[in-house]
Amino acid sequence: MMLWRQFAMEWRLYSRDRVAMFWTFAFPVLLLLGFGTIFRDGGSPKLSVVKVQAPAPSPRDAAFDQALTELQLKVQSLPKVEAEARWSRGETAAQLESDGEGYRLRLNSYLMAQAGATAGLVNQAWLVAQARMSGSPEPQRIPVQVESPGHKRATNYASFVLPGLLGLNLVSMGLFSVGMVNVSYREKGKFRRLAVTPLPKWVFLLGQVLHRLTVTVVQAAILLLVGRLIFGIQNQGSFLNLLLIMTLGTACFMAFGFALSGFAETSEGYAAISNLVFFPLMMLSGVYFTLDAAPAWLQHTVALMPLAPFIRALRAVFNDGASLAGHGLGLMIVGAWALAAFILAVRRFRWA
C-alpha cells in the first residue's frame, strides 16, 4: 500500500511537469512524424557504392555485381576518371575498385555512418560471389581504407574525429550552455539591476559573445595540443584559417543561443526550445545519414543551414589542409546566420 501510494504520487507529480511530459511522450512522436513525412516518398534510403568500371569485366566482376544488387545495394558503375572526380567532391560514401587480383574499398571519413554500413554489405556480397564462383576455397575479405576526399597524407582515424569534436563542442556550448545560463540568470533577476543603467543591450551581449569566443579559442588550443602530443594528430591546414572558421562558428552558435534565450521564459522552456532547434540541425546536417532520399526542397533548405558548411570547412582545413577558397559560400552562410541571430538576439533580449 505504501509502495502503491509512492508510485501513484510519483506519477501524479510527473504528470504535472508539462515539460518532462513533452520530452518523454510528444517529442519522439514529433520526430517520428517529421522524419517519416520527409522520407515517405523516397522509398527505402538505399545504401550505394561507387564501383570503378574495370577495363574488361571478368565473370567474377559480374558475379560480384549480382551479389551486391541482391543485397539491395545500389551499385553505380562509373569510369575511373568520373569516379575519382565524384570522390574528391566528397559525394561518395564508399568506392569499390578492382586492383587486379582482388578489390579495394575506400570509405569516406566524412560519411562514416553510411560508409560503415555499406562496407558490411559489400563484404557480405563478396563472400557470396566467391562461394558461387567456388574458385576460391578460402574466401577473402576486401581490405578497407578510410580516407577523406581531398586527403593528402595518410592519417589515423582519431584525426578525423577531432575537428568534429571541436565543432560539436562549440555548437553545444552555444546552443545549450550559453543560452541556458542567460535564461537562468534572467529568471533569478540577475539582469534587472542592469536594466536600470544606461548600458546598451548590444554591448552587454557582444561582450558575452566575445568572452565566449576567447574561451572557445583557448579550449580548441588545448584540444589541439593534447591531440598532437598524445595521438600525433596534426592540423594539415593553416592555423589562421582554422581560427577564422572557429571564430565564425562560435559567433554563429553563440548568437543562436542568445537569440533562443529570448524566446524562453524559464530554463525548462529553454531546454525544450534549444532541443527543437538542435535536433533538426544535427539530423539534417548530413552527418548521420545522407539526404539523397529526401525531397528536393528539403535538400535545398538543408544546404542553407549553418552546421554542415561549418563542419565541412573545419574538416577540409584540418584534415586536408585545404584553403578557404572552396568554402567561401559555406562560410558566408555561417556568417549570415551569425549576423541574423545576433540581431534577433539583441531585439529579443529582455533584462527581466
Binding site: 533569478k188 533577476g189 540577475k190 534587472r192 539591476r193 536600470v196 544606461p198 548600458l199 527581466a352
Partner: protein, 306 residues
C-alpha cells in the same frame, strides 16, 4: 528647477489576475523625500518599477526631471539611481568590483572608496557578494544606487529585513542624500519610517493613492485625530455593551480598547463614568495622537499590517 522632479498622471497597470496600479497621480518636488506607504500588494513596487522603466504601464504619463521615457530613456537612466526591492548580483563579484563595473556604465561616476565608506562596507570591499550578510548586501545595493551621483534616487523597501540599528544607519544615509540636494522616492510599509524620513507621503491601497500630504497634515486632517486607549491586564473583553452605553465606537485590539475622538477632553469624563458604571476592569488610560497607521485604518477600515 521649475519643473517637478516627478510628475505622474493616470498611471494604470493590469496583470492577468489583478489591477496592480489603478489610476495613480503623483507629483514630487525637487529635493524632496517622498514616500509611498501602503501594505504589501498595494501597488507600490509596481508603481516604482514603472517609473524606473522596468515595467511598461498600460496607460498614463510619466515625466522624470522633465523628461519622458519615450524620448529620453538613456538620459533618464543616467540621471537616476535605483535600489530594487531585491538586488541580485553575480555571486562571485566583490563590492569594489560591482561599484567599479556599474560606475563604468555612466557618464558621471562617484569614487568607489568614497561610496564604500558611505555605506560602511570598507571591510567587506573585496569579499564575494554571496558571503555578505543581508544587511551588507542591502547597503551595497544602496551604494550602487548612488554610483552615478544621481539627481533622483528610488529606493524600494530599503529597510525591509534589516535589524533596528541597520535601519537607523540607512535612515542617516537617506537624510544625507536629501542634504546633498537629491530627490528621494522610497516605498515602505513601516509607518515609523515614513514618518521619520519623508517630507511628503502618498498612502496607497489596492493600486490607488488614497491620501497625499505631509505626515503631520495627514494625521491632523483626520476627522478623529486623537485616540483614547483603555488597557487591560490580559486580553481585552468584548466591548459591544460598553460601546452601546458610551454611544461611540470602541475597537478591541489585543489587550486594549481604542476609542477615536476629535475631542478627548470632552470624551474622557463620560468614558470614565461609563467604565465605572459597567465596572470595566481596565488598568490604565492613555491619550495619544493618531498615527499614520490610524490614517490608513480610518480611510480603509483595515490595518497596514494585514
Amino acid at each position: 528647477m521649475s519643473t517637478p522632479a516627478l510628475r505622474i498622471r493616470g498611471l494604470r497597470k493590469a496583470f492577468p489576475k489583478v489591477i496592480a496600479v489603478d489610476g495613480v497621480d503623483l507629483e514630487v518636488a525637487r529635493g524632496e523625500v517622498f514616500g509611498l506607504l501602503g501594505p504589501n500588494g498595494a501597488g507600490k513596487t509596481t508603481t516604482l518599477e514603472i517609473i524606473e522603466g522596468l515595467t511598461e504601464a498600460d496607460s498614463g504619463e510619466i515625466e522624470i526631471l522633465g523628461l519622458t521615457w519615450e524620448n529620453h530613456g538613456q538620459e533618464i537612466r543616467s540621471r537616476i539611481g535605483v535600489q530594487l526591492q531585491s538586488t541580485s548580483l553575480f555571486n562571485k563579484i566583490t563590492p569594489r568590483e560591482a561599484l567599479d563595473l556599474y560606475g563604468s556604465y555612466y557618464p558621471k561616476r562617484r569614487n568607489t572608496s568614497e561610496l564604500l565608506a558611505l555605506v560602511q562596507l570598507e571591510e567587506k570591499a573585496d569579499a564575494y557578494h554571496i558571503t555578505l550578510s543581508g544587511g551588507q548586501q542591502q547597503r551595497l545595493a544602496l551604494a550602487l544606487a548612488l554610483v552615478n551621483d544621481p539627481e533622483m534616487v528610488f529606493l524600494d523597501e530599503p529597510t525591509t529585513g534589516l535589524d533596528p540599528q541597520a535601519r537607523r544607519s540607512l535612515w542617516d544615509v537617506v537624510r544625507r542624500m536629501k542634504g546633498e540636494g537629491r530627490t528621494v522616492v522610497l516605498t515602505t510599509h513601516y509607518m515609523d519610517e515614513a514618518e521619520a524620513l519623508c517630507d511628503r507621503l502618498a498612502i496607497m491601497d489596492r493600486g490607488q493613492v488614497i491620501a497625499t500630504g505631509t505626515p503631520a497634515s495627514l494625521i491632523s486632517d483626520l476627522a478623529m485625530p486623537s485616540v483614547v486607549e483603555l488597557t487591560f491586564e490580559s486580553t481585552a473583553p468584548d466591548p459591544s455593551a460598553f460601546a452601546a452605553r458610551l454611544g461611540q465606537a470602541v475597537e478591541p485590539r489585543a489587550d486594549l480598547w481604542e476609542i477615536r475622538t476629535p475631542d478627548p477632553k470632552a470624551l474622557l469624563p463620560r468614558l470614565l463614568e461609563s467604565a465605572e458604571a459597567d465596572s470595566i476592569p481596565f488598568q490604565q488610560v492613555h491619550i495619544r495622537r493618531a498615527t499614520l497607521e490610524d490614517v490608513f485604518l480610518q480611510r480603509t477600515g483595515r490595518s497596514l499590517r494585514e
